[in-house]
């Protein structure tokens, strides 16, 4: 086995539904080194969430195998933490309780939970909202709570499913910057799902491009631009144009 931290070998997924089966993914092989920031880029419905959930141990692959931190998956790995597309906050828990949940699930003591949650709330700029309920927060703040919760258990890999998809451009840009800062400080591996080309180019060390029906890995693009990146730089624009071609948007499939 290689030194990859996350590795998928010929992974396929078929959902058996009442109206027949859907092949969500076919023959996906990828490797992701520790500390790498990798974006999964693809149009809606090409199986990005499916792949991320399988790597998170929440769905079982129909074929192939997934290895995380040197172990073949059977259920969620303690080395990973997920940030969900629709944030997945418990509406009956305060922000602080939400952030502490993953630690509670692992049996971390109450005092330690409180301290670590406060730390992560400070890191994500949420300290003054600790006692609020999720419905009292804005969309951007909710995503931060989701990120803070994922960080509490010091995961070696952060699996993020379009965490900024539902936000306005300014908020999105700010959270992208903050995420890069957190990533630089914590040195975690990040697997980040997005359908935004600009977001992928802005964030990633490497971009994996997926095409739909069935979802397949179409290209593996290394991003060689120095950080901080700006969409106005020529390198950025060229790469974005290349990705647009790979995604096949001009065929108008979506």
């Amino acid at each position: 086995m290689s030194a990859a931290f996350i590795e998928c070998l010929d992974v396929g997924k078929i959902y058996e539904g009442r109206t027949g089966s859907v092949e969500a993914l076919r023959g996906v092989s990828l490797a992701c080194a520790e500390g790498e920031f990798v974006c999964l880029l693809g149009l809606s419905g090409c199986g990005k969430s499916t792949l991320l959930q399988m790597i998170g141990g929440l769905e079982e692959p129909s074929s192939g195998q997934i290895v995380v931190a040197g172990r073949e998956l059977s259920g969620p790995s303690p080395a990973t933490a997920i940030v969900f597309q629709d944030h997945g906050l418990f509406p009956w828990m305060t922000v602080a309780q939400n952030v502490a949940f993953n630690m509670k699930a692992r049996g971390v003591g109450a005092k330690q939970r409180r301290e670590r949650a406060a730390e992560m709330l400070a890191l994500t700029g949420l300290s003054s909202f600790a006692t609020r309920y999720p419905h009292e927060l804005s969309g951007g703040m909710r995503q931060r709570v989701g990120i803070a919760r994922a960080l509490t258990t010091k995961p070696r890999a952060l699996l993020m499913d379009e965490p900024f998809g539902a936000l306005d451009a300014q908020t999105r840009a700010r959270l992208q910057h903050e995420l890069l800062e957190i990533w630089a400080a914590q040195r975690t591996t990040v697997l980040f799902v997005t359908h935004s080309i600009d977001e992928a180019v802005f964030l990633a060390d490497r971009i994996l491009v997926f095409t739909p029906r069935p979802g397949q890995l179409a290209a593996d693009v290394t991003v060689d631009l120095p950080r901080p990146r700006t969409p106005r730089s020529p390198g950025f624009a060229a790469l974005a144009a290349k990705l647009r071609g790979l995604l096949g948007t001009e065929e108008g499939s979506e």
Binding site: P76, F90, P91, W92, A105, E136
Partner: protein, 271 residues
């Protein structure tokens, strides 16, 4: 004219919805009913032995005050015990049945069968098994409350957002933590819907059961008043039954609002 009218309608609406005093508008139909009752008495549609005047009924509360209080407490305690038992049994059962599909497959048909039997139809059997007294009444109230609590709890568990269970699975949460911190709070609004129905059903059942299987309580008092020709006491009993039904409903809703305060702003319910 039209504008004035519209203005008046708007003012009335605002009064009825906004001010705390506005909530008392719910009393208006009841006051109307008492006026109509008084009118019917004055028109002598029925003889006074059948339809006593409101004043006489009011007087009955003074005359038979001790009786009324004693019987009311008897009925209330039966409902509290019966519904309390139904809650303690029905809610945990519902949480488990809602959570585990195999338990649902095991129990679904039985639940659907037994919940179709009106508790009142079980009075004769309850009397055979438990005689006359508190036990048969409490058993019947328990059954009247069990099904709505059980079914609404199961429903509540079913409506949990899938993502939330995934969060728990990804975190490696154990089943006990999932039940306590996720399934139970997520189902709580539904459980309160069940409790509201259970309390209503239990109150209906206690009065009926007391007319047949018990020698105390409001149901018994009303039946006894009929046999001793005291129509004003019958009316007083009915008023107490209705008023307690109303207050019990208030209490459950108030409790719901406290327990599910996190829901404020999520739904239009509970304003």
């Amino acid at each position: 004219m039209g504008r004035v009218h519209r203005h008046a309608v708007r003012l009335t609406r605002r009064f009825m919805s906004a001010s705390p005093l506005g909530r008392l508008t719910g009393l208006l139909p009841l006051i109307g009913l008492i006026l109509a009752w008084q009118a019917a008495v004055m028109a002598q549609i029925y003889p006074p032995v059948l339809l006593p005047a409101p004043v006489r009924v009011a007087n009955a509360f003074v005359l038979y005050g001790g009786d009324i209080v004693h019987n009311t407490l008897a009925s209330l305690s039966r409902v509290v015990i019966g519904i309390g038992l139904a809650f303690v049994v029905g809610v945990p059962m519902g949480l488990l049945i809602g959570r585990f599909a195999w338990l649902d497959r095991l129990f679904d048909w039985s639940i659907q069968t037994f919940r179709s039997v009106p508790p009142i139809s079980l009075i004769p059997m309850a009397m055979l098994f438990f005689g006359i007294g508190d036990t048969p009444a409490i058993v019947l109230i328990f059954l009247a409350g069990l099904w709505p609590l059980l079914l609404n709890t199961i429903f509540g568990v079913r409506t949990i957002e899938r993502t939330l269970l995934k969060v728990a699975a990804a975190a490696g949460a154990g089943e006990a933590l999932i039940l306590r911190d996720i399934v139970w709070p997520a189902a709580l609004p539904s459980i309160f819907t069940g409790l509201r129905l259970a309390v209503g059903g239990g109150w209906l059942t206690v009065v009926t059961a007391e007319m047949i299987a018990v020698k105390s309580g409001l149901g018994y008092m009303i039946l006894n008043a009929q046999m001793t020709f005291r129509p004003e006491l019958i009316f007083a009993g009915i008023i107490v039954i209705g008023a307690i039904g109303l207050l019990a409903d208030f209490a459950v809703q108030r409790l719901r609002r406290i327990a599910c305060s996190w829901q404020e702003g999520l739904t239009v319910q509970g304003r």
